[in-house]
Amino acid sequence: MLVRLVKYVTAGAVAVLLLAFVSACGGSSSSSSTSAGSAASRNDEDVNGVQAPAPQSGGSLTVLLEASYSGAWPTGLDPATNTTGGANQSQMNAIFGQLFQLTEDGKLKPDLATDYKFEDGGKSVLITLRDGVTFTDGTTLNAEAFVWNIKRDMDSPCTCKPLWQLKDVSAVDDHTVRIDLKSPNGALINGMLVSNVNWLASPTAFKKMGPQQFKMKPVGAGPFKVVSDKLSNELVLERNPDYWEKGRPYLDKLTFRSTANDESALQALQAGQAQVYEGMSTPSLLDAYKNAGLTVTKEPSTSPYVIQLNTKAPPFDDKRAREAIYAATNSQLIVEKLFDNAETVVQSFTAPGGLFYQKDVSGYPPYDLDKAKQLVKELGGLKVDFFTLQSPVNTSFMKALQTMWQQAGIETTIHLYTLNGLIQEFQKPNWQAALQTAGAWDPPAGVGVSFRFNSTSPYSGVKDPKVDDLINQGQGSVDPAERKQAYDELGAYIAQNAYAPFLFPLSSYSIATDGVYGPGITTQIPTVAVDAPIQYQDAFRTSGQ
């Protein structure tokens, strides 16, 4: 956490300095009004997607990743032992490719797989692998290798391991794998996008190199292969000449480099040391990035903020207290004042970029300050211990909510925790309220609805068999219409019981210098975890190679 401490200690100073510099140097940008103007107009276009020129092959690209999230891979890059695999999607996708990938239009596209078929009402899945694919060590990617990978992944310590009730996994033929489950799972394929099972490692290379060497220089069948790997610092990849898709990747070299924070990333991009920055998440720096002439692409988030209320302990075991929080929370005002109307207020665990999005939830309690005051009066006052993960955005967000709730007479004490502190707080039976995110591209995957609402989850504030049942219905069915119905019903049930007010999903931004193009870099792809799953095999540069 000290890394984060240093980050936050410096972040304030950095932001102030940076903004001061940007303001001070406003003369230079305004003096060249043409370039500033063109940059601004280009940025406006970029939000909806840059018109990319014809792709060009060759060149290298340096990508910056934030040190406390995607830029940390302390346990290496073996899919089965990388405990931060969920955050390291870009590195993993580049090395291993993906069985399935998410496209710019939010659709699932087979990549190293070619097809899948549910059987037995979702209790079995047949996945067909692409023919003629080889790992970069020259061995064949076949069903046997896939089975070997699944077995390792199921034993992985990573929270990105598949959450299947696995009964058996077997190779049906050379290119088909059968997965048998104890209970139906209609989200199995969609869930692969946030799971380590989406990345296939070479069993032969693993056995030859041994686990320690393999995690440092893993072998996959992706568009790039590893040249050098300095853990959580720099990963250098080169083009895989035998990649299954002819003509891809366009880039000859791809380097991932860790950077301290959003401010240092801006400086490195301006200094010409990198061309892409993934997952910029400080709204107050957006103008600084745009004024620097960088292409800023807003990636649609699929995980809305939620105010989790512990319904198993006072004061939120009383429905009136929960209703008071709903009635005192004006999400639209926060979006207007803190996020410049750039985000969409939601009423459920789904978001516009994800599947099964529910815009209006039946019976969702609206903002009503008078009602909030009345409820607080009825309760004889309401005091709330409210906690979240420490970050500059969360801090301002929490203070806004505290001020808002104060108007209704709710006394709020804010607690900002590091990761370990946050988890310890959740382990206390009497925690009260937490600001978190809930949701995913497909609701049950990753930190989705099950994680925040299922009775058995340690991070849930709700213990309600009806909620569990609806979650299972949504996940269990292979029929999208049935799944949608279950999630709509669940959203309404959560609202009617005032279990947890939803706010809005906070977008992340992909940043690129001039002449860089790619899906998820200069176009939008829904986020499957926190950042957009950028497809580096399709990325290219037209200048400054």
Partner: protein, 346 residues
Amino acid sequence: MSTSVPQLRVPLAGRRSGRLTRAARAPLARFIGRRLLMVIPVLWGVSFFTFVAMNALPGSAAQSLLGPNATPQEVARFEAQLGLDQPFFERYWDWLTGVLHGDLGTSLASGASVSSILLDALPVTAELILVAIVVALLVAIPLALLAARRPNGIADRAGLFLSMVGLSIANYVLALVLVYIFAVKLRWLPAMGWTTPGEDLGQNLRCLVLPAVSIGLPLLCFYTRLLRADLLEQMQGEDYVVTARAKGAGPWRVLVHHALRNSTFGLITIVALNLGTLLGGAVIVEQIFQIPGVGRAMLSAIDNRDIPVVTGAVLVFAVIVVLANLVADILYSVLDPRIRYGDART
């Protein structure tokens, strides 16, 4: 800045030089031996308290590595895999016995040996700190001499201004200002990253400039002010200065050949004592410039609750500081042959 050297012994005059040398060598060796023996409890204490502190922090390596989505069951299983379910003293004893056999343990995160992690990172930090100190001294000494030559003159006032600025600005703020000017605006130097001298010496030096200046400028200012004050004290109150002047030595000669030599004792003490602070500064600067040194490895390890790496890194830092102080003490006798350590016959 008065010079105070521990356990100084000035030998009686009139001894023959050969005898003196032999007599002096043995006490010096004994002195070094005693100091090295004192290092053992110091290092044990450092390692033990680091181990205690890391264990007192909330969470564990398993929790940190698995992230916020892990269930308590998953964390417990991973803790068992990492051996963190063992009692504190058992884990510490295992680590300590390993260290006594030359094994600093294995990183809980990467599984790599701590020795190999530190061996990769140490040359980077050493180069950074060494360059910062050398450059700071090379600039500070002439500045202090100029300032002391004419107190309240132009050079003195300019030096005072520079020192005030340098001492007032935190090194991480200075780093950001330097990056903005020299990397972002002028594009002369890299804003981040590292190249080893073996890969490309020119690029290595380019990578080194901004971080070394960020660490070195406050040092430079500190050294300048201290040395100036000490030189003035020497010039104004010491008999040997009056004697030198009476013998017709010019002001620069008195300053450089006589006063500076005496003032160097204080400077050496400060440089040695300052090393701990300097290592602390390097931790922050390495993070800002993404330099893969010991500081960055340690911060990352603290973040991951990677106790063996943190303890190993702290141990290395402790060894460096202790040895630097020992070298400083030895340097006294090199600079002034009259000084001998622990000569019981005097």
